[in-house]
């Protein structure tokens, strides 16, 4: 099923908006069970890269293999089969306003599983307990804080037991204590479930806490690809400036 041990492979990916090249030939590989952090300044195309990986945006050119399938060529029904294997945590969680916290987590199960209502309820309770929010189950998204929304978003991303999880700025806009809590939670889940993941972040603490492979984007290209230690030792000007400013 896997492509030479890689669950995600991106080759020569290009994407532009109104003549502005946002991604300019990206190559990226993610091994099974690996967490890759994608770093870079605002506007370097990190979130665009994540959206391309589930085809929320279409690439101008290039190939994206998820679990051995080039998703750029798949019809929608086959693409949706691939999407079911991927959990996506959006930058602002993107919880459905009209549904309660519990219904938000249950929603993908309603569409994609044959579980009975009581089995779904147990699954939702299990995940909400795991993210420490069982009491928030009947609340509406507007009644909970930003950090809680991120945790509910994480529970929703995990509800279908995905092989891959994509996290867009999981700690952005959170206070250091809440951010550390999210990093700890994700790190724990990562060790428990051995999910492959890509984490887009500006937060060097998050990079150290959750990732074992780091890439850095600058002007639409990857300017660094290595481990966290190599990142900190890098003499590449854009990398050292970013790391220096972040710590």
């Amino acid at each position: 099923m896997e492509n030479n041990g890689y669950v995600i492979k991106v080759h020569d990916l290009h994407r532009s908006f109104d003549k502005q090249n946002v991604l300019n030939g990206i190559d990226l590989k993610v091994k099974s069970g690996e967490t890759v952090a994608v770093l870079g300044q605002s506007g370097t195309g990190k979130s665009v890269l994540l959206k391309l990986l589930v085809r929320l945006l279409e690439p101008d050119s290039g190939a994206i293999w998820i679990d051995g399938k080039d998703i750029t060529k798949l019809p929608v029904n086959e693409l949706n089969e691939v999407r079911k294997k991927i959990g996506f945590l959006f930058q602002y969680a993107a919880l459905y306003d009209s549904l309660t916290v519990g219904e938000n987590v249950e929603f993908p199960l309603l569409w994609h599983s044959n579980l009975s209502p009581s089995e779904r309820n147990d699954r939702v309770d299990e995940l909400l307990s795991r993210v420490g929010l069982k009491d928030a189950k009947p609340k509406m998204p507007a009644q909970i804080s930003g950090g809680m929304k991120k945790r509910v978003g994480l529970a929703r991303a995990l509800v279908l037991d995905p092989q891959i999880i994509l996290l867009d700025e999981p700690t952005a806009g959170l206070d250091p204590v809440t951010a550390a809590g999210i990093n700890e939670l994700f790190s724990g889940l990562q060790q428990e479930r051995k999910i492959s993941s890509i984490v887009v972040t500006h937060d060097m603490h998050a990079v150290k806490a959750v990732s074992n492979h780091v890439v850095m984007l600058h002007e639409g290209k990857i300017v660094f690809d290595g481990t966290v230690d190599e990142l900190q030792a890098s003499q590449e000007p854009h990398v050292s400036e970013f790391v220096g400013q972040s710590l």
Binding site: V54, F90, Y96, D97, P108
Partner: protein, 259 residues
């Protein structure tokens, strides 16, 4: 030259709008036919679009009845045709004023609501979250809303018609006392199937137009909260405009088919 270019760009945008709207309607219809119905969401939208518009429609219908009665009495008295007042009021309300006024009032309320709700969902990435979870947003968001508009518009029209006729009688009875029973008998004496049913059922098409345009404008929102405001405004204006334009054609078609 610059003015010419601007006009050309405006024309291109209009053609693009119709093209995108056509694709949107096509995808929505395909989803509506092939996907399973979200009954819970449909009932929620029927409540939102239908039940919560009842008070507005009752008041509008009542006001319409009073205004029609006052105006028509004045005109008919001049021609010595005062006795025809109940029939004229009923026909005017049931055939044209009731359906179109109901559609316009509901389009204001519903298009603003749907445009703003879906627009907010778009800018907060909730629509992306549907697609990322392999859930078709058309199935959960568009189909129930459009279907609720189609089902609720005729019912709301009947309510508006009823209150229009009742308040037409009240307003008339203040000046020239007449029993409600006699008013109804005289009013509906000349009303036929061809007057009542097609006129009321044509509001299903108004509902389709309101639902589709509102969902389309909401789902193509761009540019944050400012964009939500823009798409809400566009949804309201275009829904009302297309309802009026559709009415022109529908009235002609109904006249040809049922008169």
């Amino acid at each position: 030259m610059e003015i010419l270019l601007k006009k050309q760009n405006g024309l291109v945008r209009i053609v693009e709008w119709f093209g995108e709207f056509g694709l949107f309607v096509g995808r929505s219809l395909r989803t509506g036919i092939t996907s399973r119905y979200q009954i819970k969401e449909l009932l929620r939208q029927m409540d939102e679009i239908g039940s919560k518009s009842i008070a507005l429609v009752m008041l509008t219908g009542a006001a319409l009845g009073v205004v029609m009665s006052i105006h028509l009495r004045d005109s008919l008295v001049r021609f010595g045709a005062e006795a025809a007042l109940p029939a004229v009021i009923v026909l005017a309300i049931v055939k044209e004023s009731g359906p179109i006024i109901t559609a316009l009032v509901v389009s204001g309320r519903v298009a603003a609501g749907i445009g703003a709700e879906l627009g907010s969902m778009k800018v907060t990435e909730q629509l992306d979250a549907f697609e990322a979870s392999a859930i078709d947003p058309y199935c959960f968001l568009v189909v129930p809303r459009v279907l609720a508009c189609i089902l609720m518009l005729p019912l709301l029209t009947i309510i508006a018609d009823f209150f229009g006729v009742v308040m037409g009688w009240v307003s008339n009875a203040v000046v020239a006392p007449i029993s409600f029973q006699l008013f109804l008998t005289q009013g509906f004496k000349s009303v036929t199937f061809g007057d009542l049913i097609p006129s009321t059922l044509r509001t299903t098409i108004f509902g389709f137009i309101i639902g589709m345009i509102s969902c389309f404008e909401g789902m193509r929102t761009e540019g944050g909260t400012e964009g939500v405001g823009r798409s809400t405004k566009t949804a309201v204006v275009l829904s009302a405009l297309f309802v009026i334009l559709a009415d022109v054609f529908l009235v002609k078609i109904i006249l040809i088919l049922f008169e």
